[in-house]
């Protein structure tokens, strides 16, 4: 059966004890072993084992959710790389941002990728949300996953907002000054929330450090958790919301 030497070598590798200890199932040649390949993989087990053909069509989703997730991954990778040159301190933060643009090799590319990616993610998340809304994706049995999606949209906005302060330029300072004053307009709790968020009465060193920790640690972890729930629930709620005429016509349609 095996023709090329690469395939022979691969087959021999699959027979080894080490390989068999990692991948308990045999090769994915039957529906059963294909299912086991999904179940047995920690990253893929959130995904459905089978999907309807219609839900893979571009027009079913325009892959907007996948696009948002890919942008989240891109922002995680570029963000971690940016952290290697960035100190969340006054005035070092601004100088580091300038160094990233003008001194570090490909730094301007990395920074712009992070910045444009962040804008794109906000657009993708909202587009995804509109698309799901107009498809009626908030209706049972998807109502819980819709709420998880709303939380993810808010987390996307909080991530954008906390990242906005980090360049520590005039735009960042005044955006956070105005934004946190909006928070303090909230009755009863407003002033305390602003004080806790800024770690003081004005946008200073404490505020920069707090926004940095929120942006780089707390919010991405929370978002990652909610993304996992979001993916898991698509499968548990019985797949995507498809347009009704697609479902009725079923697989007879061949377009």
């Amino acid at each position: 059966m095996a023709t090329s030497s690469i395939e022979l070598a691969l087959n021999r590798l699959r027979e080894t004890r080490a390989w068999r200890s990692i991948f308990r199932r045999g090769p994915a040649r039957t529906n059963r072993t294909r299912s086991l390949a999904i179940f047995g993989n920690i990253f893929l087990h959130l995904m459905p084992v089978k999907v309807r053909e219609q839900s893979l069509r571009v027009r079913a989703t325009y892959y907007l959710g996948s696009f948002s997730f890919l942008l989240f991954l891109l922002l995680t990778v570029t963000g971690i790389l940016l952290m290697l040159y960035y100190h969340p301190a006054v005035p070092q933060a601004y100088l580091d941002m300038k160094d990233l643009r003008f001194v570090a090799s490909n730094g301007v590319f990395l920074r712009n990728l992070h910045r444009v990616g962040a804008h794109a993610m906000v657009i993708a998340v909202f587009w995804h949300m509109f698309h799901v809304f107009y498809r009626g994706g908030y209706r049972p049995p998807h109502e819980f996953n819709w709420v998880v999606g709303v939380v993810l949209m808010l987390l996307t906005l909080f991530l954008s907002y906390t990242g906005y302060l980090l360049p520590w330029d005039q735009l960042a300072f005044w955006a956070i000054t105005v934004g946190t004053n909006i928070i303090s307009a909230e009755p009863v709790l407003g002033h305390d929330v602003r004080f806790l968020l800024l770690g003081g009465n004005l946008v200073g060193e404490n505020a920069l450090l707090r926004f940095y920790v929120l942006h780089c640690v707390i919010l991405p972890l929370v978002a990652g958790m909610f993304i996992a729930i979001h993916f898991w629930r698509i499968q548990k709620d019985g797949g995507l919301t498809l347009r009704e005429n697609h479902e009725r016509e079923g697989h007879e349609r061949q377009d």
């Binding site: 005044w174 000054t177 105005v178 004053n181 909006i182 806790l196 003081g200 009465n201 200073g204």
Partner: protein
């Protein structure tokens, strides 16, 4: 034997040992969790702030001509001198915290962010600002300089006569 059966029945009719211990454990965890939230909240509000002092000396009163509005850029305060006396008007817009600008030609304090307008005594002329600009406490130091405290406000009618 029959005695112990009766005792067991009496105990189970009220609360089982397992349920009792579960309730005690849940209560202890609840109290500990609440305490953890309180101490975390206390930890998150800083006790020492390294922010600029809110009081500052604004120099000798003779520096300010009568009927003048002087903007102190560093402190974000207008020192206003009228024939009645001195007062210090905050330059921070009461809307969302932008720094306002004194426009001598129009005799108006204008906010560049959202277009609020105030008179030179801080009275609101045009929104979206919800309130007039506050007057800060202004006093004289023993050596005769103006001293402004941005933590304390004064009534707009009060002026410092020198």
């Amino acid at each position: 034997m029959s005695d112990s059966d009766a005792a067991t029945a009496a105990v189970t009719s009220e609360i089982s040992r397992r349920d009792f211990l579960n309730d005690v454990a849940a209560g202890a965890l609840g109290i500990a969790g609440l305490g953890a939230m309180v101490v975390t909240y206390r930890f998150l509000s800083p006790n020492a702030l390294f922010e600029p002092s809110t009081t500052f000396r604004a120099g000798n009163p003779d520096l300010y001509p009568v009927n003048s509005v002087t903007f102190n850029q560093d402190q974000q305060v207008y020192i206003v001198r009228t024939p009645e006396g001195f007062y210090a008007v905050s330059a921070v817009c009461t809307h969302l915290g932008c720094i306002t600008q004194w426009k001598p030609d129009a005799n108006i304090i204008a906010c560049p962010c959202h277009g609020s307008k105030f008179k030179s005594d801080g009275t609101k002329v045009e929104g979206p600002a919800p309130r007039s600009l506050p007057h800060f406490s202004i006093t004289l130091t023993p050596d005769g300089e103006l001293l402004v405290d941005k933590m304390e406000t004064m009534k707009p009618e009060q002026t410092l006569k020198v």
